[in-house]
Every structure is written in structure tokens, then in C-alpha cells.
Amino acid sequence: MPVDMRTFLAHVELATPVLTAAGCAGSGRELAQFFDLHRLGALVTPSVTMAPRAGRPTPRMTETPSGLLNAVGLQGPGIDAFLERDLTWLAQRGIRTIVSIGGGTVAEYSALARRLTDAPGVTAVEVNLACPNLEDRGRVFAREGGAAAEVVASVRSILRGDVPVIAKLSPDVADIVAVARACVDAGADALCMINNPLGMSIDTLTLRPALAAVTGGLSGPAILPLAVRCVWQVHEALPGVPLIGVGGVLSGSDALQLILAGACAVGVGTALFHDPYACLRIERELEDLLQARGFQRLADAVGLAHRPPGSSPRIPLEENTP
């Protein structure tokens, strides 16, 4: 029996739980050369900003043990060109699209939300809170519940009620549960974690930082345990909130870890750079793993690792009776 892989982000049903991670799937056209994007749970766009952005100088990336450091700096076309070119392309094809937005002020996030209210083809809006707050000496919104909540509340109040707002959190905080709770209280319908923790690498030949921006975001398998921990803690505190688990997912078993920790959907980022087909492969592997463990529904596995030690595994009865 195939496993029922459907999942819900608030009231929005997704056919499969595997999504792309923001900023790791281009405009969609690039990956469409490799596979049919309809087979994704949803495509998450790069974080779009109001004005076009040229991003950071190069070098923007360096490889680290089981990871990648990047400092792209949200290079993108700005909201006008994004709506006209990229979103239209996705909407015309009926590809489920979660639009990620990024801003330097609460007003910029609000302006972005306003531009998205009438745009066709927006399944949900993901608020990238790992952007420097220009009104707070460039400290990122995600680092503190109050700043994050202000952004979420403003975006939530502008978007139509049937478009879920997803708050994307950073792991570089003392208390991720506090930030998560603040976002939910401010109206977030779902949470996505984790964005890149900050890291740094030094080139031992040039004796200088490897990235032009000095520090960069770490991604890839190196951060999977960090993502599992964050999802675990937030699901424990807020079991009713849909979570998208992101960070270092390379295989179906990585995805399963995040689901058992409490995620109902999984984002794939850096793995796409290595394998453009990664989302489809991970979905297949995840389904096989669920099936081998006797699950009939993905939903039954969400957060299952939280059950107390010693409690019997939830293998459905008919699987045990011959």
C-alpha cells in the first residue's frame, strides 16, 4: 500500500511534504529543465525584496566539512520584476508556490505583503526574518521575539486570511521557543526552521577570510542536528503549530528525522546544488522508509519521537495481523 504523503500547512493541503528551501531553487525555470515542478510539495522562492538587489561581492561561497558557507546577500530582481516574470511563470503553470519575502524594515515587509495580496498563484507567504533590521543597528529580526512578532503581525494583517503566513526562524538565538511563540502569538500560521546559522572560514593560503562578506550562512548536512533540535524544541512547546523542517536534508532518512521531531513538511536546499533531482529522490526515500516502518499516513509520523520511552511503537494493527 502506498503511504498517504499528503500534509497540511494550516488549511493548505500539499500533495507531498517535500519543498524546496528558500533561495535554493532559483526562479523555478532552472530546475524545470530537470524535473516536473508539479511533483514538489511546493516551490519556495528566493526571498524577494522591494528594490532589485545586486547582493554581496564574490567570493560568495566556500565549501566546509559536510557544509557550505554562503553570503549571497539576497541578490534578486525586486518585487516588480519578480511578480511580472517569475511569479507569473509559476502561476501560469499551476506550480504551488510559497513566496519568501525579506526586508530591512517592518514597512518594507508590509509593502511586500501589500504587493502580494492580489498576485495570483501565492499558496503561502514565508517571512524570512534573518534580515538585518535597519532600524536596530542591522541586527536580524529573527534574533528576538519582539522584532520578529512585529514583522509577522504586520504581514498577517495585510494578507488575505486564506493565505498562510509562515515565519522563518534562525537558530542563532538563545531561546528559539520564545521567538517561535512570539511569532505564533503575532498570527503566524506556520513556522519554518532553520535558516542558516552564521559561520566563517579563513583561507590559509591568502591568510584572509574565504568569503568577501567575511561571515556567511552555513548549510548542508553539517547543520542537520541543529535543525532537528530546533524543530524538536518548538514542537514540544507548540505541538499544534505546523512546522517546516529545513537544514541539511540530503536523504529520506534526514527528512524522517525532522518529521519525527515534529515537522509536517521538509525543505531541501543545499542538496539541490549537488543533485537537481534531490527533492524527488528524498520524497521517494521518505515514502519507502515510512512504508517499511508500517505507516500508512505521513501524518502519523509527525512528532512521533516525542512519545515517552518504552511506549509501544505505533505500527498499525493490520500490518501486524497476517
Binding site: A51, A54, R56, T62, C131, P132, P221, F273, H274
Partner: protein, 283 residues
């Protein structure tokens, strides 16, 4: 497309390693200037990014083979250098925009430095098939770092070699030898592949002669397929404005005079979306 190929042969040519890989599907789609990305380190490796390599030669044998030529730079290329016949190799390609080729039988100078020369040989074959005149200028730091001199002599009208230590051909860099080659051959166009400063020098020479120049740039790439935005450089568009464009999909072949070589590694203040324009410093 992605293909798990099989290493057919390996060889060493001076400082270079060459791998011929059976890669049906990739081979027949490859045009001169295309590159592939190779997964390195094996299935449980900690090396996450594919390595970009130009396709040197394509042959129809065994359903299609591609030949890759490289020097060992770090752990990824060291792993590649240890591959043996029959080893599997995971390739994605062909990637990038290939060389534009002239419609008329014009005279072309092909300029290559180090392993950059490798990508010029399939181009030479295509140009010759169109009746073009082909002349080569090949260079490297020393004699063992000049790639393809013998083959160049076989196919081209003239071949000029340069080395920085003077161990082979003229002492100096390829751009030093280029003006006299352009003058002698009455060249109509230049094609160049090599390190960024070589491309800058070659472009300057071609512009002095007022002839078009196509350069193949090499920027560090994390994905090779246009989704990571790490491989950008400032390029002037048809409309005269500078954009940070992706070398992997908008290139790697560019018209030399459009690349702002002096500004590579920076965001020029007049580039679209440069800091100061709208929302700044996020990310």
C-alpha cells in the same frame, strides 16, 4: 541531465590529468564551450559541491564519451586524479552557453592559458569545419603547464607558445604574443579561455584591434545550474547597464568587452541593485 558515467581511460599529460568518461546523453548534447559538473569524493563524502570542468573532447564511442582535462588544485581534483578505468563518475551536463560561432569563414585566433586551452580544441574543429582559419596562442607558467601544443600544431595554421619562465616558446604571457598573431593572420575574431587576468589582458588587445572577443570565465560555482547565485560577475548588458550575472547559465562564454574585469569581486556602484539604491545590507 545527470548521468552516472564510467571512466574509460585515464592519462597524464605533463601537469594535467585527463579522464575519458562514458557519458551517453551528455556527450551528444555537448557543444564547444559547454562544461559539466562532477560529484567528487564518493557517496558518503563530506565534499558537498560538484566541481566544474570543461569538456575537452567528445567522441561517439561506447554511446558517447567526454574527455575532461584538469590540474590538481585541492581535495576534489585530487580525488578525481585517483580515478581509474571502470570507476563510476557522477556527471551533470552539458551546462552553460556554448561558444557562438561565426556564419562566415573568418580568421580566428584561439588563446588558451593552462587547462583553459582544453575547451578550445572542440571549438577549433567546429570552426575548421566551417572553413574558418584557426591560429592558436597557448601559454602557461612553464612548459609542462602548456596544454595541447602538439594537437594545436596539427590543426591550426600557426601555433604560438608562451611560458612565463621561458622554458617553451616565447617568454611572457599569451596576451604579450597576441598582437603580432592578430596582425599576421589578419584575425577577425578572438576566443580565449584562462584565468581572469589573462582574459582581461586578451580582451584589451582585441579591443585595441577592434575585433570581437569571446572569453570563457571561471567563477567559483556551487551548483552550476543557476540556482545558488554564487557565481556572479559584473557584465554590461545590451542596454548598457551592468548586472551581476551568473557565469554558469548566462555564461561561461561572454563577449570580452562586456565583462567588467576591473570590477570582478566587487559590486560596481552603478550595477542594478547595488547598495545605495534601495533596501541595503540585508542577508
Amino acid at each position: 541531465m545527470q548521468v552516472t558515467g564510467t571512466v574509460l581511460t585515464t592519462r597524464r599529460v605533463d601537469a594535467f590529468h585527463a579522464l575519458t568518461v562514458v557519458a551517453p546523453g551528455i556527450a551528444e548534447r555537448t557543444r564547444p564551450g559547454h562544461f559539466v559538473t562532477v560529484a567528487v569524493g564518493g557517496p558518503s563524502t563530506s565534499m558537498l559541491t560538484r566541481r566544474a570542468l570543461f569538456v575537452h573532447d567528445v567522441k561517439p564511442d561506447y554511446g558517447g564519451t567526454v574527455e575532461l582535462v584538469f590540474t590538481v588544485r585541492g581535495p576534489g581534483t585530487r580525488w578525481l586524479a585517483d580515478r581509474r578505468a571502470r570507476d563510476p563518475l557522477d556527471l551533470v551536463g552539458p551546462l552553460g552557453r556554448p561558444f557562438p560561432v561565426p556564419r562566415d569563414p573568418v580568421a580566428c585566433v584561439l588563446v588558451g592559458a593552462e587547462y583553459g586551452s582544453a575547451v578550445l580544441f572542440p571549438l577549433a574543429d567546429t570552426l575548421l569545419a566551417r572553413g574558418c582559419r584557426v591560429d592558436f596562442v597557448l601559454g602557461g607558467a612553464g612548459a609542462e603547464r602548456v596544454f595541447g601544443a602538439m594537437r594545436a600544431r596539427r590543426v591550426a595554421q600557426t601555433t604560438t607558445l608562451t611560458t612565463e619562465d621561458g622554458s617553451l616558446g616565447l617568454r611572457g604571457r599569451v596576451a604579450d604574443a597576441l598582437p603580432s598573431v592578430i596582425a599576421d593572420t589578419r584575425a577577425d575574431a578572438v576566443y580565449a579561455c584562462g584565468p581572469m587576468d589573462t582574459l582581461r589582458e586578451v580582451t584589451a588587445v582585441a579591443m585595441k584591434f577592434d575585433i570581437p572577443v569571446q572569453v570563457v570565465v571561471e567563477e567559483a560555482m556551487a551548483c552550476g545550474v543557476g540556482i545558488c547565485m554564487t557565481c556572479v560577475l559584473p557584465v554590461i548588458g545590451e542596454d548598457g547597464t551592468t548586472r551581476m550575472v551568473r557565469a554558469c547559465v548566462e555564461g561561461p562564454v561572454f563577449r570580452g568587452e562586456r565583462v567588467r574585469f576591473e570590477d570582478v569581486g566587487t559590486i560596481p556602484f552603478d550595477a542594478i541593485g547595488a547598495p545605495g539604491g534601495g533596501a541595503r545590507h540585508a542577508g
